[in-house]
Subunit: 153 residues, 2 copies
Amino acid sequence: MDGAARDLADIGLTNFAPYLMNRIMGRYNAGFHEELAGLGLTTPKARALAVLSVVEAPLIGELAVYTVTEQSTLSRALDQLQADGLIVRQTDPDDSRATRVTITDAGRAVFQTLWPHMHEAQERMFRDIPAAERQAFVATLQKMLLNIRKHEI
Amino acid sequence: MDGAARDLADIGLTNFAPYLMNRIMGRYNAGFHEELAGLGLTTPKARALAVLSVVEAPLIGELAVYTVTEQSTLSRALDQLQADGLIVRQTDPDDSRATRVTITDAGRAVFQTLWPHMHEAQERMFRDIPAAERQAFVATLQKMLLNIRKHEI
DNA sequence: GCATGATATTTGCATTTGCATTTAATCGCG
DNA sequence: CGCGATTAAATGCAAATGCAAATATCATGC
């Protein structure tokens, strides 16, 4: 069915997985962005809170990978989150070049208001898709992340 | 297995589909971005060429949806593509507010140099994933796009 | 047939972004 | 030890972005 590298016209936009994924995430993120505007958050700030609600005291560089954000952009996002008391920066005890980031209770509280929207948007994305199919989909995503990731986290 | 809306800690980052998709596409797009830099292209410009290689003379607003780009950003990207002779803007004969965009032969030539990289990056993403699983994955993506899209294109 | 509102695109301007550089600290090897 | 190479994070600055407003055209109701 799939010969040598065909061109995009043969495959069709809507059969090319990266295109579909960009379209879908573009819309998901755009909706997310709107929710955020009201709360004084940007996408990088919200992503940082989301990851920090789950990952314990990562280095800033690790957080940049998790949040899919340029490190310089993340650095500035953290400045703002810190100014608002939502996160804390602490120098790593074993390496004083490095900084670990922790979410505060206030930060968790803000994330709690965000989470229902994230979850609901995900549910909308998966509407009418049976549980088994969802699980297979996520399993494929996990394989893909291992294939494509550059960092070991 | 899936009770009421649980929190992210219960689900886990790597079981939350939007997170995985953002991570994967972040890396895919970052790799793409590097290829582009050498060719004097930006992401919006390259996306426009890719879509235009397949979609016949869309309106600029439609192209913005296909390329997942803000319309003002796309407008400026088209300025540059036009200056380089890679696309042509033509006023729609039936509605002179609207503009249709067409790729030129030179534009197609540039896209031809891009396509192998896009295709190869996709192959890398799907490495060791069997054809049946890929197809199921794309089928799920297509359903998701229908669920989430805001525009009728 | 004309005023009012809607639609397609562009543009002005302030903000955000990302690259390249800087600062600071650790590592590795002679 | 000590010095050059490497790594973590922050920052200066130019470029890209996105929102809101402007421009131009079309559609509709009276």
